[in-house]
């Protein structure tokens, strides 16, 4: 007997360890739960290290980024000395664009405007496993995050929370093979199931060959899965072709196209309607501006409610030039005073009259003289 045990000791140990792990697996599958204590210990032990690494990486990246931004500013200052007026206008415009493009701000803007209640989270790591499409975010049950919550960015859906721990949560990305969500197309209202592929593209399954769908059509969440609120953008179809029994639809997910650093976890989702118009980020055809009625050197800036910040800024600078009797580009006489108080904005439809009267006033007024203070504040400029 001893000889038998000695001979099969290795196999016996192997079997014992395998059986023990199989029982652990069976318990988890049967109870549909997790061995939370072990996971909480593991995640809690790793999270502080992850935060420290992420903080170190982030500050290094910001330092390098700030350095190059400063270099750009220095170059820009040189250009401003040579062509102050033009660059100031460009600078203001670029600042507006930069601030709009800033990911954190756009996230905050989206958070404020979205009807759903969301909390922002940082991605601090990946889970283990070869090619795993699951990330760890730095918000957990302490922040109100629960398993099954949707995770999004302003560009679209990102994934869903699969496990939540006190300080961190696991987010299963839309690209994971086990991910699924209900979606609906924008134009033809075709319903299907979004599925991950384990790579950068996802597919929409269970769409019959008879359904009409074109490449480029956008998909939105349908709300059928009880995880994602209805109306969140998912992505646009890149390939649509008939399959054996169902259509083969490949979709480029929009939620992760700008990288995945900050995300929003939907703690209280609100269903919204599928928008009829294309998304704002899609390229939009713009008609050429109409020809100027009078022969002026520059086209008049667009005003009114449809005007952009750049249009309003250009208009303000023109009015400053008119008040000071200055012709931009000629140089001499020092730079214009951009801080003077301008007369009140003209009412819509009366720009031409106001502009001409302002010009007349400017002719009477000497350069450098301050105009009469207005009772109304100056236009807001570039504030967004």
């Amino acid at each position: 007997m001893d000889l038998l045990l000695q001979r099969y000791r290795n196999v016996a140990v192997l079997l014992a360890v395998i059986v023990a792990q199989l029982m652990l697996l069976a318990y988890q599958v049967k109870s549909n739960g997790e061995v939370r204590l072990i996971r909480i210990w593991a995640v809690s032990a790793v999270t502080p290290l992850a935060r420290a690494i992420e903080a170190g990486r982030s500050s290094s990246a910001h330092f390098i980024s700030d350095y190059f931004v400063l270099l750009d500013v220095r170059e820009e200052n040189k250009r401003m000395k040579t062509d102050l007026d033009r660059v100031q206008m460009e600078n203001q415009y670029l600042r507006t664009e930069l601030s709009t493009a800033d990911r954190a701000k756009s996230l905050a803007i989206f958070q404020q405007t979205s009807p759903s209640k969301t909390i922002a989270a940082h991605v601090i790591g990946n889970t283990t496993g070869m090619g795993a499409k699951v990330v760890i975010v730095d918000r957990g049950t302490a922040s109100g995050v629960e398993k099954g919550m949707a995770v999004i960015t302003p560009d679209g859906i990102v994934g869903k929370v699969t496990s939540s721990f006190p300080t961190a949560s696991y987010v299963l990305l839309v690209t994971d093979q086990t991910f699924a969500a209900g979606v609906i197309s924008q134009k033809s209202r075709v319903r299907g199931t979004l599925k991950g592929q384990g790579n950068s593209t996802v597919i929409v399954d269970y769409v019959q060959n008879e359904e009409k769908l074109e490449p480029g059509e956008w998909f939105y969440t349908s709300g059928d899965d009880r995880i994602f609120p209805k109306g969140l953008p998912v992505g646009h179809a890149t390939v649509v072709r008939p399959g054996k029994s169902r259509k083969e639809i490949f979709v480029a997910p929009s939620g992760m196209r700008n990288g995945l650093e900050e995300v929003l976890i939907v703690v209280d989702g609100v269903h919204t309607e599928i928008p009829e118009a294309p998304l704002a980020s899609q390229p939009v055809h713009m008609q050429d501006p109409p020809a100027a009625e009078t022969s002026t050197d520059a086209a008049p800036a667009q005003t009114g409610p449809q005007a952009t910040d750049a249009d309003r800024l250009l208009d303000r600078y023109r009015r400053i030039g008119a008040v000071e009797g200055r012709t931009y580009g000629e140089g001499g006489g020092g730079g214009p005073n951009f801080n003077i108080t301008l007369p009140a904005d003209p009412p819509p439809g009366a720009e031409k009259t106001e502009s001409s009267s302002t010009n007349e006033k400017a002719k009477e007024q000497r350069p450098g003289q301050q105009p009469k203070p207005s009772s109304q504040p100056a236009p807001a400029g570039t504030a967004r």
Partner: protein, 180 residues
């Protein structure tokens, strides 16, 4: 001719008299295993291509090969696998079972081959990477009912890449061993 044959045999298969058993400090094994798991947690976040590198598996294979004890292989495999499970989204035991089997078979293979030969290491690593992927796929379908796709071509490429990383990695880890 007979000498040449026995020489080749010793190079690739190894003679029992020349088989070396190596020991490692427990702290060394724990630190290397932890580093491999943390590598999988953080590095793919910045270099997505490296997510296909299965360092915990390579560490399991290495220590099992060098320790030349099936029981030690089972212990290394189960512990590293369960630690990896605790930081994955899968139920605990998936990586545990797969790596336990890998550790056991790697240690068993080490009794028959000269595992200090780089060619043998490459082939063994290649085999166990593919075996690991295949077994994980089988268990996912059989035990969890997940309908994962197994792309054979991709799996082979990933296994080859892991095997190519394994050879220099094992060379580095060789410096940590303590001869008995």
């Amino acid at each position: 001719m007979g000498d040449l044959h026995s020489g080749l045999r010793e190079d690739f298969i190894g003679s029992p008299s020349k088989i070396g058993v190596y020991r490692y400090h427990s702290a060394t094994i724990a630190a290397v295993a932890l580093a491999a798991i943390l590598f999988q947690v953080y590095v793919p976040r910045f270099l997505a291509q490296l997510s296909y590198l299965e360092l915990p598996l390579l560490i399991t294979v290495y220590f099992s090969l060098m320790r030349r004890s099936p029981m030690a292989g089972v212990a290394y495999g189960s512990l590293i696998g369960l630690a990896q499970d605790s930081l994955s989204h899968n139920p605990l035991g998936m990586f545990g079972i797969v790596k336990t089997l890998v550790g056991y078979f790697a240690a068993s293979a080490s009794l028959r081959f000269n595992v200090e030969n780089h060619g043998i290491r490459l082939v063994i690593s290649l085999f166990f990477c593919f075996f690991h992927q295949f077994l994980y796929w089988v268990l996912s379908r059989a035990l969890l009912g997940e309908e994962l796709d197994l792309n054979i071509a991709t799996t082979i490429v990933v296994s080859v890449l892991n095997a190519l990383v394994a050879v220099p990695l094992f060379r580095v880890l060789d410096k940590l061993k303590v001869p008995v």
